[in-house]
């Protein structure tokens, strides 16, 4: 009887030891993960204080500070899992990066701050964005903007640059096309340059007498 009792106690002790070691290692891992996540959060927070969205972020943070006080006093938040946090944060960083390169790069900080009148109800759907396409489009947009920058500096947009821009614009996604044309229209309206007079791909012709002249 004593032997059976001892064996049961020993088994329980071993079980407890096992559970303790597993829990310990998990907690240690969690602490490391949390420290790492905290660093990454502060990096994202630092980046997000640029440009037009700074005010919105500030306002929302004030609201969250108030909510935080309420929630921590009531102790009733439901924690997410580690992987949820990591994935969400990675997603945020991609979106933030996209925001910076596609949006901030086109405007000066003053212009971004001045934009504060939301008139459109269109919502950008970032859920379906294919990252590779987004990055490729961003690079193309950047190349197009650089050509427009050169034209602005020289005061002329030549046929070769315009041909190149026509190729580039076809490869952009919808949002990048919008950014590209908005930039070009702004330049044209400011008189920084003019479109070339003759399209290098077009012919001058008299009134056509068939759908394809010359056939």
């Amino acid at each position: 009887m004593k032997l059976a009792k001892s064996l049961t106690l020993a088994t329980l002790a071993l079980g407890l030891l096992g559970i303790g070691s597993i829990t310990g290692s998990y907690l240690a891992l969690s602490t490391i993960d949390f420290n790492s996540l905290e660093q990454r959060i502060s990096q994202v927070e630092n980046r997000s204080t640029l440009g037009v969205l700074a005010d919105e972020i500030k306002l929302l943070k004030q609201r969250f500070d108030e909510l935080e006080v309420n929630i921590t006093s009531h102790q009733d938040i439901s924690p997410l899992s580690q992987s949820d946090y990591s994935n969400s944060l990675a997603d945020l960083e991609v979106r933030q990066s996209k925001l910076e390169t596609e949006f901030y790069s086109l405007f000066s900080e003053q212009e971004l701050q001045a934009e504060s009148d939301p008139l459109s109800t269109e919502v950008v759907n970032t859920q379906d964005d294919n990252n590779d396409q987004v990055y490729a489009s961003r690079e193309q947009l950047q190349a197009g903007i650089e050509l427009l920058d050169q034209a602005s500096l020289s005061g002329a947009l030549d046929n070769a640059s315009m041909d190149q821009l026509n190729i580039i614009v076809e490869q952009l996604d919808r949002e990048s096309k919008k950014r590209f044309w908005e930039r070009m229209f702004a330049d044209l309206q400011a008189g920084k340059y003019q479109l070339p007079d003759k399209d290098s791909a077009a012919d001058y012709y008299e009134l056509p007498n068939s759908e394809v002249v010359g056939e």
Binding site: L80, Y85, L89, P118, E170, K178
Partner: protein, 143 residues
Amino acid sequence: MDSTSRKKLFKLKSLIFVFASLFSLPIFAGTLNFDFVRTSTLTNVDDAEGRWQFSGGKVYLSGNHVGYFVSKKRVSFGASPVNRAALETTIIWKYGDHNITVQGTHYFGTGTEQGSVSATSSAFSYLKDANVSGTHQHLTFTY
């Protein structure tokens, strides 16, 4: 979980919500103003049902020549009380194979036009469904 960890968790959740909220904020409306200068003869072609009215010319953006337009209006005896024509105007970009087509109505009483962008080439796809209003000499696109 102690209160420090709880705070960290809350901050993280808050940050996620902040960014998610940013992407659901309305984006800013854009406008585009084109001027139309007719360079061909406005031509009326009558038939038993009504009248076609054709015109074409140059398109300007703040004085810069950016393209050409081709326009046709259809007036029907069946809709004569409204004094309006069905309108279709296509802007052909000056350089490259880009175009924008507006469909709507033209009111002969004042020359005002109302409609939206019904078709575009790929390059101008972001303008599809943009609201268009103005006159036969000046149209504003709101997208």
